[in-house]
């Protein structure tokens, strides 16, 4: 029993070493020897390789970087202040007078990408949402979008 456990440990040790060195364990002579001793080990090895392959799709719990969150909050706060100030200072329309531009909609978008994973945080006047996916090159990008009303002249009643 002890010998079997040792064999198993030895098999996994060689398989792990091959993976560490980015070699296919199925080409490692010592791994193959161990499979010849215990054929079911090939299936175990295939399970591991298959699960490693699909791992990104399941890694939903990856935390969003703190810096990205802070940036997103700061951006959203800045946009909110901008909206509030714009609304407060907006002059009332008088007959025959043009109104200045006003912010009627804003959206702050932060994209943080690392190898194999990206997170997009969108905060707008309707709320916020976080979108994560698992592809793309390393990149961090922030976009603030504001929509302004066009100056218009109210009609004379």
């Amino acid at each position: 029993m002890k010998a079997l456990e040792n064999d198993r440990e030895s098999f996994w040790e060689h398989a792990q070493r091959a993976l560490d060195e980015r070699r296919d364990p199925r080409d490692d002579p010592r791994v193959l020897e161990a499979i010849l001793e215990e054929p079911e080990r090939l299936r175990e090895l295939e399970i591991l390789l298959a699960r490693i392959e699909v791992l990104p799709a399941s890694a939903r719990k990856r935390p969003v970087r703190r810096a990205a969150v802070v940036l997103a909050i700061l951006g959203a706060a800045a946009a909110l202040i901008l909206v509030c100030v714009a609304r407060k200072e907006a002059p009332r329309a008088r007959a025959g007078q043009s109104l200045p531009e006003q912010v009627v909609r804003f959206e702050f978008e932060l994209t943080n990408e690392s190898p194999g994973h990206s997170t997009r945080i969108v905060i707008n006047d309707l709320g916020s949402k976080t979108v994560s996916n698992f592809s793309g090159d390393p990149l961090t990008m922030a976009i603030l979008t504001t929509e302004l009303s066009k100056p218009h002249t109210p009609r004379i009643p």
Binding site: V54, A59, R62
Partner: protein, 177 residues
């Protein structure tokens, strides 16, 4: 005098009059049993009998590589193992080509491995991974980062990260156990 308790190959390897064909017939049950254990539960499935037949064909084709002074059983098992590994690699390549072809035409297709996994299955596989194990596995295998790079990014010693990497891999395999 030869002992009747010796396995067939022990008797046969010392009997030069018998040909490889006869040896193969005698080794067939053990070979079949080995291959069945080898391919049991594989997805997509591999036909054990196809592998056995191909192993016998190869044994005859490459009979020069057989050392009559050695038992035939391990030699046949090695041939069978190589055949199964090559056959699996071929299945993976075909699947990858199908996915690439479908994506080239705008179809969003998951790889066979991914398609086999429901969200619940994936969640179950990874539920036992700690945050560090998950991060190291992803960075090493998907991001292609070296342990040194991961160590610098995460602020942990390489040895510690290697332990997490190995433990994470084990958890992925033995999650079903």
């Amino acid at each position: 005098m030869r002992s009747t308790m010796n396995p067939p190959h022990e008797e046969l390897r010392s009997d030069s009059r018998r040909g490889l064909e006869e040896l193969l017939v005698l080794e067939l049950p053990a070979l079949r049993s080995f291959v069945e254990r080898l391919v049991r539960g594989m997805r997509p499935p591999v036909e054990a009998e196809d592998i056995v037949q191909e192993t016998l064909a190869r044994a005859l084709r490459y009979r020069e590589s057989f050392d009559p002074g050695q038992p035939a059983g391990p030699w046949l098992c090695k041939l069978a193992l190589r055949l199964v590994i090559d056959s699996r690699a071929s299945q993976r390549r075909d699947a990858d080509h199908r996915v690439e072809f479908a994506r080239a035409f705008g179809h969003d297709v998951a790889s066979d491995a991914a398609a086999e996994c429901s969200a619940e299955t994936l969640a179950r596989w990874t539920a036992r991974l700690s945050a560090v194990e998950r991060e190291v596995l992803l960075r090493f295998h998907q991001g292609g980062e070296s342990l040194r790079e991961i160590s610098m990014a995460m602020g942990l010693p390489e040895g510690t990260l290697k332990s997490h990497l190995h433990r994470g891999r084990k958890k992925l395999v033995w999650e079903d156990a």
